[in-house]
Subunit: 210 residues, 2 copies
């Protein structure tokens, strides 16, 4: 067997185990919080002995960091990028759609991130904490240009972004509450489209874009 194959094979075991562990860990961290999730509980959920978990990850904090990192990557990929030439309507629609789809597809990722921020972002490195500042500044600048050109109502662009973020993430983070209020056991396919339609409708009109 070639060296490449060997790397691939061992890499597979490693990768598979890590995915199993991280998946279990993500769930445990959401359900129990950082301190409440024990290495043992993660091991149980992953159906692996505890020592095996600590063979692949030096320690608990490492597991959490890996989960967090994965979450941030997902956020980065999932958030639709917008450009100046497409106009405010398409831009807002793209952001709303991307974020709503992410919320329904990866609620746990959103929850982990939310809990981290709520608790003061103690585990986030500085670059991760300030990363979004640049993102918001850039997008806000675009919105401001559209406002200056009279292409949309004069609303504070930064707060507009907060509004879109909060409204979309809400469906992930407060899943439990929303399902209770809607008297449902689970979300269905239609819900995603309905939420996208609702938010686009009201926010676009709110921006004078109907």
């Amino acid at each position: 067997m070639t060296n490449a194959n060997q790397v691939k094979k061992t890499g597979n075991i490693r990768a598979k185990s890590q995915v199993k562990i991280l998946t279990a860990a993500r769930t445990e961290f959401v359900l129990q919080g950082y301190r409440g999730a024990t290495v043992q509980s993660i091991a149980d959920r992953a159906a692996l002995p505890k020592a095996n978990i600590l063979y692949y990850f030096k320690n608990k904090e490492n597991i959490y960091h890996a989960v967090l990192e994965h979450t941030l990557e997902m956020w980065d990929e999932g958030i639709g990028d917008i450009e100046a030439d497409q106009g405010p309507k398409v831009a807002i629609e793209k952001i709303i759609e991307a974020k709503v789809r992410m919320s329904f597809k990866h609620p746990e990722a959103s929850k982990i991130y939310a809990m981290e921020i709520i608790q003061g972002a103690q585990h986030l490195k500085d670059y991760a904490r300030t990363y979004q500042r640049q993102w918001v500044r850039e997008k806000a600048k675009l919105f401001q240009q559209w406002i200056d050109k009279g292409e949309m109502a004069n609303v504070d662009p930064v707060h507009l972004i907060f509004l879109i973020w909060s409204a979309t993430q809400h469906y992930a983070d407060f899943e439990t509450q929303i399902l209770t209020i809607m008297n449902r056991a689970d979300f269905e396919e239609d819900d995603v489209e309905q939420v996208i339609a609702f938010l686009c409708d009201i926010i676009l009109r709110g921006c004078g874009l109907d």
Copy 2:
């Protein structure tokens, strides 16, 4: 000394200690989560010996329940009630203003509640879990009547309430992130009014109420 005075005096010690403990506990629960907050850390923050904490509260779960209950009471008091005869514009303004003020005044309460919901509301009793269903149903009914009378745009009332909740709570729960993005150390008086104005402006217009 009369019996009433005795009750008052001892009651004061009890009440004072409990407030001190609950205040410390709330902060610890926010910063460290339920499992991460230790009785010792609460004791340290309250500047009391650990055994004293457990004199006033049977156990850790009891402390948490007391904190949660206090949070729910605050939510109940703080949320402005709306009525049919005032029309949709005033109603929405009242809800937004009440919730934004609460978010800026008691961010910790909002955070505790948010974390509890995110983690699946494991500590909330059934009546607390379903309490808001009735609240939302009632208010949604009002909105629907206004829609039917053509007094506001045809937007889903339930999702409208979710939108208002999420947008307002965001300023409490994601305080850390918002401050980082706005490059600020703290919120100021003006911010509250500005957020209220922004949200009323965009949401009212979104509901066809400008």
